[in-house]
């Protein structure tokens, strides 16, 4: 794949061309920004085939500058000629001819590492990469400690370390090619281009180059070699978001930590010099070769700030096993019913109302959990009550919707459906809207308890409808989701792959709802068009809550998800120890949710971190209700709990 899109004018020398009566061009090895690199034959050795590499720099500066450019070129060529390191090719000659300067150097017969990594179908072997990295640290250390003839420090910064500038020679050793002479003369770029340099450190784009920049580029190179992810086509400086071991779990934690250290944004956080990085790599090599029986990644490398670098790549997923900030949670009060509390409490008039499987609707004082009254139906109460104008409404498995006075628990009226009611009512426009297992959504007059109309769905309706001033929205157990007007006429419908038990949330004219197919859907309330869907790994029974731009919803895959409503993509997820079929409640930057593992979790909405966890004596499918900084929630252990938020 081409990462540079600017065309290169074809000004390359042709095979057969002879420079200085000595170097016969054989082929182009590569084309760079400032000219080509050729393989040539040195004609001074008529009886032996001696190849050289000839690097060409086309001098595009205007005539007044040309002389200076040539002088700088000659000075740098002299510096390179004075270098003596096995990884640096020998310089044989340099000369100027016309508008071009040429550098003649050792021809290395091998393969550059970019080609090498592209050609290999499998991930590269860690041991080999560590070996190359040690050699590279060695040569960087040599360059960075370079001194002039009169012993003045004159560090040489390579500035363009990357796989394509590293050759693997026939002996398996790494050689540095393409010293950056040409880079000093690069003209400004014209036009939009695709592909960044990829390996360069952030500070280099401010014009800073230092030994620490070469260390970063070495880290970037190692990252590419081990992950096969080309950084030139990834977001720049995104290495910490793409940890090595995520792409290649065979890499040891120690090597990942070394690479992360080299790749720190802040030069001061990288290795202080190439020698220090080399020592870390040598220590790693010693450990892994000396202790073959040890599984990879269990040892800790004692290398100062390596741990710090590792933390910067922490996964955005957090889990229940993390240490909570507030470990002990003691309920304000506990109220015990006679059977499981599966539905969710509602708070109003200083009272908490909750239904239980003992058939009773309870009214308990919110402050201290004292029973005020209980009202008996003839069936279990799996849903939540609704309270409106001092009347509490609740559906029962006895097929009835019950309207009871909030103050005394006195029956006002009951309304019969044709099958058990396992949903929760919604009160609006002087009507109670409630679904039943008879497949109908019923509209019942709040004053009289009489039916206004009913709408036939395709299957049982077990969610609580959402309502606007002219529409109702609800799903049913076969996956249909309906928008009907307030006279019961269908406006649009949508079908999920499996049932919709989750109650829709309406925010900003968008409906959010979960489905047993594992998806969360965002639907346009006006038109029924799906804006996005978000996939979880198990059915969703939980109903969503919203906090700013974050949609919060639990799934039977044990995760609480925070989804950005603008993109439909995950912001974070929190792992509980059991299914999350309860519906979250949000207040003051904290989201509360119950789990089948028996716990109630309090999690920070900003980052998904656990704030506290309360363990009840049974599964919690009840949804929390938040009022006056108190969380009310029921459990299968028969109890209703009041917890300090």
């Amino acid at each position: 794949m081409s990462t540079r899109m600017q065309g290169q004018g074809d000004s390359s020398l042709k095979p057969g061309a002879v420079l200085q009566n000595r170097y016969s061009i054989i082929r182009v090895l590569g084309v760079g920004g400032m000219g080509s690199v050729y393989q040539a034959r040195d004609l001074r050795f008529p009886n032996a085939t001696k190849f050289v590499a000839v690097k060409e720099i086309i001098n595009i500066a205007d005539p007044s500058m040309r002389e200076m450019v040539v002088r700088i070129f000659e000075r740098e060529a002299n510096t390179l000629a004075s270098l003596d390191h096995p990884a640096i090719p020998k310089i044989y000659d340099y000369f100027n001819q016309g508008d071009r300067s040429f550098l003649v150097m050792e021809f290395i017969d091998g393969k550059d590492l970019e080609t090498y990594v592209n050609d290999s179908s499998e991930m590269l072997n860690e041991e080999h990469v560590v070996e190359w990295a040690i050699e590279l640290c060695d040569v960087l250390s040599y360059l960075h400690n370079h001194k002039t003839k009169d012993s003045q420090a004159e560090p040489i910064i390579f500035r363009d370390l990357k796989p394509s500038n590293l050759m693997l020679d026939q002996h398996g050793s790494i050689r540095l090619i393409d010293f950056g002479i040409a880079r000093n003369y690069q003209a400004g770029q014209k036009g939009t281009m695709i592909g960044t340099e990829g390996y360069s450190p952030p500070e280099q784009y401010r014009g800073e180059s230092s030994p620490a920049g070469d260390i970063y580029a070495l880290g970037a190179t190692l990252h590419h070699l081990l992950t096969k992810q080309d950084p030139r086509i990834e977001p720049p400086f995104s290495f910490s978001e793409r940890p090595v071991r995520k792409a290649n779990p065979n890499v040891s934690m120690e090597l990942e930590a070394i690479i992360n250290t080299a790749l720190n944004y802040n030069p001061a956080d990288r290795f202080p010099n190439a020698q220090a990085m080399k020592e870390a790599l040598v220590a790693l090599r010693r450990r892994s070769s000396g202790m073959l029986s040890r599984p990879l990644g269990t040892g800790r490398l004692d290398l100062g700030n390596l741990g710090k670098a590792g933390e910067s790549t922490a996964s955005p997923t957090t889990s229940a096993s993390a240490t909570p900030a507030r470990a002990e949670v003691t309920p304000l009060w506990v109220f015990k019913c006679e059977d499981e509390v599966r539905g969710s409490p509602v708070v109003g008039n200083g009272l908490v109302f909750v239904g239980a499987y003992d058939n009773n609707l309870y009214a308990v004082t919110a402050a201290d959990g004292k029973l005020l009254w209980k009202y008996a139906t003839d069936g279990g109460l799996p849903g939540s009550p609704a309270i409106h104008q001092d009347i509490v409404y609740i559906g029962s498995e006895d097929r009835r919707l019950h309207a009871v006075s909030a103050k005394a628990g006195k029956l006002q009226w009951t309304y019969y459906a044709d099958a058990p009611i396992r949903s929760s009512p919604r009160v609006a426009e002087n009507h109670v809207f409630i679904g039943a297992d008879d497949h109908y959504l019923h509209a019942v007059n709040t004053a009289t308890g009489r039916k206004a109309w009913r709408f036939q769905a395709n299957d049982a309706v077990r969610c609580r409808p959402a309502v606007t001033n002219d529409r109702l929205f609800f799903g049913c157990e076969s996956g249909e989701f309906y928008a009907i007007d307030l006279r019961g006429e269908r406006k649009w419908h949508f079908k999920a792959k499996r049932g919709i038990t989750s109650s829709p949330l309406l925010a900003n004219n968008t409906l959010y709802v979960g489905s047993l197919d594992g998806m969360v859907y965002a639907l346009d309330a006006s038109s029924g068009w799906t804006i996005w869907r978000f996939r979880t790994n198990k059915p969703i029974l939980s109903s969503p809550a919203i906090d700013g731009n974050l949609l919060l919803i639990g799934s039977a895959d044990n995760y609480l998800y925070a989804v950005d409503v603008r993109t439909g993509r995950e912001a974070w997820k929190f792992q509980a120890e059991g299914q999350l079929n309860s519906s979250p409640a949000v207040g003051k930057g904290v989201v509360y949710i119950g789990s089948v593992d028996g716990s109630v979790y309090a999690i920070e909405t900003a980052n998904g971190k656990l704030r506290w966890r309360f363990k009840s004596g049974g599964p919690v499918t009840s949804s929390p209700t938040l009022a006056n900084d108190i969380v009310y929630i029921g459990s299968f252990d028969h109890c209703l709990y009041a917890l300090t938020a």
Binding site: Y205, P235, S238, N509, I531, V565, G568
Partner: protein, 314 residues
């Protein structure tokens, strides 16, 4: 309409929507309480943008567009595509809008071919999926495709088309689909989308450019970015191989909101404040677009300039 009135009367007296609780103490804690809706019946006052623009249309999108090769480039590599549709009457259709700005790159004629192919490809794939559902009876058994997935599949198709058709070319792309008041915007590269409401100017898109990343890392300032020698270097574009990652943004647009999409030939030359001032001074969206192109050319016009402004019905 008579029947509707009858049933409205059925539910009188019409009061503000009440949550199923007894007041504000309960509301925030109800896990599935409805969040108060924006007042859909209200209209923005004609001067809500504090501009000389006429009030927005009551029923349809108002659109202005302008495109210019600029003062330096020999040819135009930008593409501008707009589609709007409305159906009013019994069972009205939500308004449809598709707006694309793409800025091709690659030298010779590769850039203009890449951007043109991409825009056509997106429009084909998106409209093929959307139009049948949009024109179907809304109360019938309509299968409606997912809007974000429609747009993602359309951009993926555009990417494949450019990879196959112009392997050495590429293009940026900002592509906005509006159904009713729901915007779904897909974005790759450094063309930009902005939302303008009242005096609020919001950049919806994030440039996939080197300098944008350097700014986010605190390595360079806005001013340094504006003159950085590598300011035109992108790390993501359409037509660069498989697995293109696309930014997808969905937003609900309030009545009267302006959506502006433009190529870097505009935004890199004309600062946001001046764009906003041009909108305030303009007497129509078309006049605003023309004035923006002129401002970019007055600033040197080094690149092709493309702009589209869409106003939501009021």
């Amino acid at each position: 309409m008579v029947v509707v009135e009858f049933f409205k009367n059925l539910f009188r007296p019409k009061e503000p929507l009440a949550a199923p609780g007894v007041g504000s103490a309960v509301r925030p804690s109800d896990p599935d309480a409805t969040v108060p809706l924006p007042d859909l019946g209200s209209r923005p006052s004609p001067d809500s943008l504090k501009s000389k623009l006429p009030p927005p249309s009551r029923s349809r999108f108002t659109v202005g567009t302008a495109q210019d090769v600029g003062m330096v480039r020999p040819h135009n590599e930008d593409v501008l595509l707009t589609f709007t549709g409305e159906l009013n009457g019994l069972e009205p259709m939500p308004n449809l809008g598709l707006f694309i700005v793409a800025d091709g790159m690659g030298g010779h004629s590769l850039g203009e071919r890449a951007s043109a192919l991409a825009a056509r490809s997106i429009a084909q794939v998106a409209l093929q999926q959307i139009l049948p559902s949009l024109l179907a009876d809304p109360a019938g058994d309509v299968e409606r495709p997912l809007l974000t997935e429609v747009m993602e599949s359309a951009v993926a198709a555009a990417n494949r088309t450019v990879v196959a058709g112009v392997p050495e070319g590429g293009t940026t792309l900002t592509s906005a689909l509006i159904i009713g008041d729901q915007l779904v915007l897909c974005h790759v590269g450094d063309t930009r989308g902005y939302l303008i409401t009242d005096n609020h100017f919001e950049q919806l898109t994030r440039d996939h450019s080197l300098v944008q990343r350097l700014k986010e890392l605190g390595q360079i300032t806005d001013d340094e970015a504006a003159v950085h020698p590598q300011r035109s270097v992108l790390y993501r574009a359409v037509g660069q191989g498989d697995g293109l990652e696309v930014d997808v943004i969905s937003r609900r647009l309030t009545p009267g909101t302006l959506l502006l999409i433009c190529s870097d030939g505009l935004w890199s030359l004309v600062p946001d404040t001046l764009l906003l001032e041009i909108i305030r001074q303009a007497t129509s969206l078309q006049a605003a677009c023309d004035a923006m192109v002129k401002a970019a050319n007055d600033a040197g016009g080094p690149d092709n300039i493309t702009v589209v402004i869409v106003q939501m019905p009021g």
